[in-house]
Every structure is written in structure tokens, then in C-alpha cells.
Symmetry: none
Subunit: 144 residues, 4 copies
């Protein structure tokens, strides 16, 4: 395991807007009712949008995916994969501050983790597709 | 106490955007770092924006004010007033699904409660000023 | 209310050691069995020491005081004062992410809030005395 | 299973310092950003140090490993092994006061369990290596 990226200052509102706009555009283009959450580097919620007719339970799930990605500085899919592999990987189900579902991604600016995005509402691969659309919107961004 | 307004369907994303834009504009015009939360008629978070450098604690407080306003279909200030009056009013402090702080307002469309807005970050009267700026943005709105 | 200090990066371990050493020295000099907690700017625990024979309950209280001071970027005593004043101030008792007890102080480096210290175990004025001994140890510190 | 060791008085601050110094030295020598938690025989936190740039989620995980080790008076790895074995062992995932991850070890003085150490931040075998470095520092210690 290579050294993880360091934590930076929390994502700015302007950067969060950019991430949210890209994620929302992807969800709306696909016609997927989703909750999209963005947390800062400290894990505090910075922005959340719930699209019309999203299932209620997805609001908390989106937040938990984002918290997982920032608290452990890696995509939540890695934990989903560990559970899917079975055996020792199942131990992750015993953790209560980690949600092992695809759809949570760290947000990176200038090589630092400034927060994370979490998406929920459809199949987890679809959630991840929307999260990725959001995360990539910060490519080339520089710290505000 | 007159009959409270009935609950309607949850606020649409489009209406939430309108409320948020008006509240944010007021907060930014005043230079106040705030958290602004909008919940739907079921109390679930529909939209949250945290302005840069908001104090961390305000994120949860803004949500709690919005939940209070929708759960009891009245401005959270009414509960603050009850506490300030003392005596029997203090019993409100024993409730754990109610935050007796000004700054939470129901959101109404076509005579129905579609959700609520909660604001935190400054003095509670300032929080309420921003919440009101958001709530009034729905005047004349018709159900989507 | 003047503008609060901005949040900075979380306190470094080296700075936390300095704060803890000063607070511990004060507590031991006084013969006070205390719990001393230091959190970073995101509210996460960075260092906690419980002196021998501290009452169990003080461990959580010390953490809550530190969290209050960093989440609201001010000394927890301000909230204690509000409660003591009664009337409208009692509304603070309805908040569940804020502990209105003296003994929590923000920690500041270079004009930025890098975390907070919380102390519990004796009377709250004594707790505050130890917290202050810790906080002052960062005077003149520069960001690591 | 032989009779478990009896609980003793909570670990003294002096012994906790010794354990922490040894664990920290190992973590720093390896260049591993970790959270290290020590609890007393009652499960209450006695000492916690979070090294710079530890992932936020590890703070809670380190505490949970230490609590597991003291609450059940055995290394947390035994529960990880049970989960990895599958079948009946999976029932452990239904327990919410037990974290089945390697890296938590009881701390013993004079044949009595005085507390436990929990470490998190890297792979669980690395976490366990640092926990062991801490636990062994009490070899030959006598009750304060």
C-alpha cells in the first residue's frame, strides 16, 4: 500500500458547486433519482442535493459513502471488494464507521484530499458512475 | 392555535434551488458564514450548502432547526419563546426531536407544508433573517 | 460579534504534546485527577490523557468540551454563561452537539483555529484553569 | 479455553506512558501514520495519540479495538480469525460491542488485565505489530 495522500483544507464552496453540478448533470442525463453528498476534509457535510423522488434511505447512504471515502482516504469500492472476496474480508462488516458500498470517492486538489463525494439511489455501479463524474470535475483545479 | 397547514408532497429540487439561492444571496450579501439546510415534508434532507468557513457545529444545528420546523409545522422561534418564558415552557428542553432556536421556518406551497429551511452560523436573529429570505422565495410558487 | 478566526490545518502531534505537557503539569501540580482531551480542527481526537483516579465520566466530558470549543470556535464558558443568565439563554440546553460547561478552549496557531482543548474532573473553574495552562503553551508557536 | 485472567485496577498513567512510548516509537520507526489508544480495565480511554496525517477513521477504530480486547480479555485477532473461518464464526458480525480486526491486545500486569491497547492506520498485521510493541513494554512491570 503506497502512502495515502495527505489531508488538505476542506473543499471550498466554489469547488463543491463544480463537483455537484457535474454529478447532478450525469444523474439527470441518465434519469436516475439520487442523493449526492459532498463532505469536507474533516468529514463535515458541505453540500447535499437530493433529486426529485429519491428514496429516503439514500440520503443517509450517500453521506455515509462520502464519510467512508474521506475517513479512510480511498474509494469505498475497495471495501465492497473486500467483502465480496469473503473470508477475512468479511471482518469489514464489523466496522460501524465504514460503509462498504461503491459510490464514495475522495476529492483531490493539488495532491491533497479536500473531501469526498458519495452517491446513492441506484445500483452501486451507477452510483459510482455519478460520483466519478463529480470527482473528475476537480481535475486541474487549484486550491482556492 | 388554528389548525396547522396540511403536509404536502416533499419540496421539489427546483423549488429547493430557488429557496437556497435566495437564502445564500442574503448570507453572502451580509458576509455571514452559514450552513443552510432544506428538508422535505418527511423531514429528509433535500439540500444543504455550507458556506466557506462556517463553524462545524452549525451544519448539524441548521439541519435540526429545519427538522423542528417541519416536524411541528411552525417556526422554531415559537419554541425558543416558550423556553425564554420559563416555567412550563422549560419542559421543551426535555424533548430530543426539537431544537428551540430561531432560524427554522416551514416552507409552504399552495397552502401545504412541503418542507422547511434551517439556518445556523450567526446570532439566531441573523439566522432567522436568512431563513426568511429563503422561505419568501416560494411566494406565489405553485406545486410542481 | 466580531468575525471568528478561520479554521486551519489540524494541530500537529508536536504541538499537541506541548499543550498536553503544560496542562498535565498544572493538573499534577494542583493534585487534580483530570481527563484532558485535544481535538484537531476537524473535531477528531488527537490526544487524550486521563490522570490516575479520574472519574470515568470525565473522559467523555473532556472530549465534549473540546468538541464544543472547536465546533463553535469559542470558549465553552460563553455557553455556560448564557445558561446561567437564564431566560432566552436556556435554549442552549436544547442543543445536543454543544456542552455548556467551562473548560473548553480553542487552540490557535498563526491566527487560525487548529483545534481545541477540553478538561474535566474538578469544578469547572478548575477545569478551565488547566485548559488555559494548555492553550497558552502555543503562544508564539508557528504552523509546523 | 482456559480461564481468562482476572481484571485488575485500571492501568496507571505511568504504565500507559510506557506502553504508548514503545508503540509510538515502533510506528514512527516504520513511518506509519497511526492512531494508538489505551483503555483501562473498565474500558474507559486512558490515553490516545493520533500521529500526524492519520486517516480520521482510524481514531474510532483504534478505540474499538482496544475496547474489544479488554471487554473480552483476549486479542481482537481471535475474533478476526473466527470471521475468516466462516460458518458459525460469522455470527460475530452481529455483535455491536466487538470489532473483529487484528490490532487490539490486552495489557497485563502481575497476571491481571489492567487494560488494552488498540492500533489502527495501516494493514491490520502492521497495526498488530505496533500494538505488540506497546504491550510488551509492560513485561516485568509491577502494579503501581
Amino acid at each position: 500500500m503506497s502512502a495515502p495522500l495527505p489531508y488538505g483544507a476542506p473543499i471550498t464552496l466554489e469547488h463543491a458547486r463544480r463537483v455537484m453540478a457535474a454529478a447532478e448533470a450525469e444523474a439527470l442525463a441518465q434519469g436516475w433519482p439520487m442523493a449526492i453528498a459532498i463532505v469536507g476534509s474533516g468529514g463535515h457535510l458541505v453540500m447535499l442535493h437530493a433529486l426529485d423522488q429519491v428514496q429516503h434511505g439514500s440520503v443517509a447512504v450517500a453521506q455515509a459513502k462520502a464519510e467512508t471515502a474521506v475517513n479512510f482516504r480511498r474509494p469505498s469500492k475497495l471495501f465492497e471488494d473486500a467483502v465480496a472476496a469473503g473470508g477475512l474480508g468479511l471482518r469489514i462488516l464489523g466496522m460501524d464507521n465504514l460503509l462498504p458500498l461503491d459510490g464514495g470517492l475522495p476529492l483531490v486538489v493539488n495532491g491533497q484530499v479536500v473531501g469526498a463525494i458519495g452517491v446513492s439511489g441506484m445500483q452501486s455501479t451507477q452510483d459510482a458512475q455519478v460520483a466519478a463524474a463529480g470527482a473528475v470535475a476537480l481535475d486541474g483545479a487549484s486550491a482556492g
